[in-house]
């Protein structure tokens, strides 16, 4: 039964130590009923361990896991109202697809005819009607993925946990499955808790996202919150391209020497160096260090005259590859609305290497 008074999942002071390693270091989260909630972070940030503690596969070293207000910290997986979709799908190889999907109903004592009916219905729900008699080995990766999803959904859990379920799929299929997952979640109305290291995936699918680093939650918010108003340099670096300016370079542009960021697509690149700035606009000149033509858009990496480096992203509405290549080494003017400058504060933390323009 859905209990409106309590969040679907509530984590209080969750910690998990494996020997000397602290995998999860004090996590507090509340996940609302019916929400598509993502836990985003680099590998080793503790997001999967948190998921496993919610699922009942790991026992927390400290802290409490509540499902619908009920303390389930020490309960076995089969005693809690959650289901997990595993990264490798974990289908039962000896059973056909229908028996796989019906498994949860079978162990709950649902009759043979009824569970076959519900399994077929669930398979139709993930667009796999008619696949019931096949063996998992005869399915493609995307189809296995959907069987795993149907198998978990058929028992109507209060919360569905998904552990990087799209990780093993190729890019095209992954994008298609992202859309489908989101649609399925809307249809069934079950709370989804989704673990991923792919920031784009988290942004496109989620109602809210928790960004993990080193066993802690850096920020929780809507995708727009994280992208437009990152709370820490780590979040700015991990979600999207960071474009960080620090120290003197930041001081000259923004007035203080904290960490500042401007998203690449907010920056306008112009060859007219003397253009007069509009009100509320910030402008700086620099030299184009690198131009990367990427079909729909072009990335400019610009060394600023005031120090520091920014990446700017321009839609290729009027230009093509031959136009932009000439710009390498030339002087350009970068401008953006003052409100698009993000002040991240003076945290000493370094963003993930490879995310800042070089």
């Amino acid at each position: 039964m859905v209990d409106d008074a309590h969040p679907a999942v509530e984590l209080r002071g969750l910690r998990k130590r494996f020997g000397e390693v602290v995998a999860v270091d004090g996590v507090d989260l509340e996940i609302v009923d019916g929400e598509f909630f993502s836990m985003l972070g680099p590998s080793g940030s503790g997001k999967t361990t948190v998921l496993r503690m919610v699922g009942g596969f790991e026992l927390p070293t400290e802290g409490t896991v509540l499902l619908g207000g009920k303390d389930v910290t020490r309960l076995a997986p089969f005693e809690r109202d959650v289901c997990t979709v595993f990264q490798d799908y974990a289908l039962f190889p000896s059973m056909n697809v229908r028996d796989n999907v019906a498994y949860g109903l079978r162990v709950r004592g649902t009759g043979r005819v009824e569970r076959a009916r519900q399994a077929d219905e669930a398979l139709a729900g993930v667009r796999l009607a008619g696949f019931g008699d096949r063996k998992p080995a005869e399915l493609s990766g995307g189809q296995r993925q959907r069987v795993a999803l149907a198998r978990a959904l058929v028992v109507r859990p209060r919360v569905l946990l998904l552990d990087e379920p799209l990780g093993a799929l190729d890019l095209k299929l992954r994008e298609q499955m992202q859309m489908e997952l989101k649609a399925i979640q809307r249809d069934v109305g079950i709370t989804f808790v989704f673990v991923t290291h792919d920031q784009e995936e988290a942004l496109t699918m989620s109602d809210r996202v928790a960004v993990f680093d080193a066993g802690r939650v850096e920020q929780v918010g809507t995708p727009a919150d994280l992208y437009e108003r990152p709370a820490t340099a780590f979040v700015a670096g991990f979600v999207g391209t960071s474009n960080l300016l620090e120290g003197d370079a930041a001081a000259r542009l923004f007035g203080d020497n904290g960490t500042h960021s401007v998203r690449p697509e907010k920056i306008q690149v112009s060859r007219d160096l003397s253009a007069s700035g509009e009100p509320g606009e910030q402008a700086v000149t620099g030299t184009v260090a690198e131009v990367v033509y990427a079909g729909a858009s072009t990335r400019f990496i610009v060394d600023l005259d005031t120090g520091g480096r920014l990446m700017a992203l321009q839609q290729n509405r009027h230009s093509d590859s031959s136009d932009v290549a000439e710009l390498r080494g030339s002087k350009v003017r970068l401008s953006w609305r003052r409100s698009h400058g993000i002040s991240i504060g003076t945290t000493a933390e370094q963003p993930t290497p490879g995310r800042t323009p070089r």
């Binding site: 089969f78 490798d88 289908l91």
Partner: protein, 267 residues
């Protein structure tokens, strides 16, 4: 790969000769089972089924066969239970001395049979004060039968991983239901392959058996050894030998088929 023609033929001959060296002697036993002469002659002087009739009424051979089958069944059952438990313990749990235990479990198959036989004989009689007989043979056979079951099951467990079982419990199944519906079906063909191998190993074992059988109990291989040199029974031995060839090839063939299909990705 392309090879010069003469080399190809030379290699083919080498393979042919090697296989012939192994299998022609077996063929001689089979031929002699139908040879009217009491002593092995070449070429056979005719064709007869007399020895088969004689073998079917030979009480010693029949008793020994029964003992061998019973021993093999008991040793296999024991090996299946213990080998499976050992493989679960060594695959699923990390504990101090795991590698050492793993080695100790596998070692009996590598130990010379004569050493195993001697030491078990000493242990049974001197240390435990047991009378040698059916029970001691079963225990002795189980020591090396466990290994083949263990090897088969642990290989399957490694490939199976633990997520299928985790998924089962996640979907609401208890540990026991998970074993019954998920783990056991996945292990079934590995258990069958290991069991068949164990049965075959036990059925034709002679060295360890000699040391642990005592005076009253005779397994089929020991009966053969005892009767080989008696002119009256030699033809019957050939008949029994022919049967044994068939019965030992069959389980090996089946177990290969089973592990073959299993490694093809289907359980």
């Amino acid at each position: 790969m392309w090879l010069p023609r003469p080399l190809t033929w030379a290699l083919r001959c080498a393979v042919g000769l090697t296989l012939a060296f192994i299998y022609v002697p077996l063929l001689v036993v089979v031929l002699n089972a139908f040879n009217p002469d009491r002593v092995s002659t070449w070429p056979p002087s005719g064709f007869t089924l007399d020895w088969w009739r004689e073998a079917l009424t030979n009480q010693g051979a029949l008793d020994a066969t029964l003992v061998s089958v019973q021993v093999a069944l008991c040793a296999t059952a024991l090996a299946l239970a213990l080998g499976t438990l050992a493989s679960f313990a060594l695959q699923r749990y990390a504990f101090f001395g795991r590698d050492a235990v793993s080695l100790l479990v596998i070692l009996p198959i590598a130990l010379p049979g004569i050493v195993t036989g001697l030491s078990l004989n000493a242990a049974f009689t001197a240390m435990l004060g047991l009378d040698l007989g059916f029970l001691t043979i079963v225990v002795a056979h189980a020591t090396f039968c466990i290994v083949v079951v263990f090897n088969n099951v642990i290989a399957r467990l490694r490939r199976l991983g633990e997520t299928a079982e985790a998924a089962s419990m996640d979907l609401g199944a208890t540990r026991f239901t998970t074993f019954r519906l998920v783990t056991f079906p996945a292990l079934r063909s590995a258990l069958l392959a290991g069991g068949l191998l164990a049965f075959a190993l036990s059925f034709d074992e002679i060295i360890v058996t000699t040391f642990t059988a005592g005076a009253g109990t005779e397994t089929l291989p020991i009966w053969i050894l005892n009767n080989l040199t008696r002119p009256n029974n030699a033809p019957v031995v050939n008949v029994v030998g022919t049967c044994l060839i068939v019965f030992s090839i069959l389980p090996i063939y089946l177990s290969q088929k089973l592990s073959g299909t299993a490694s093809g990705g289907r359980f």
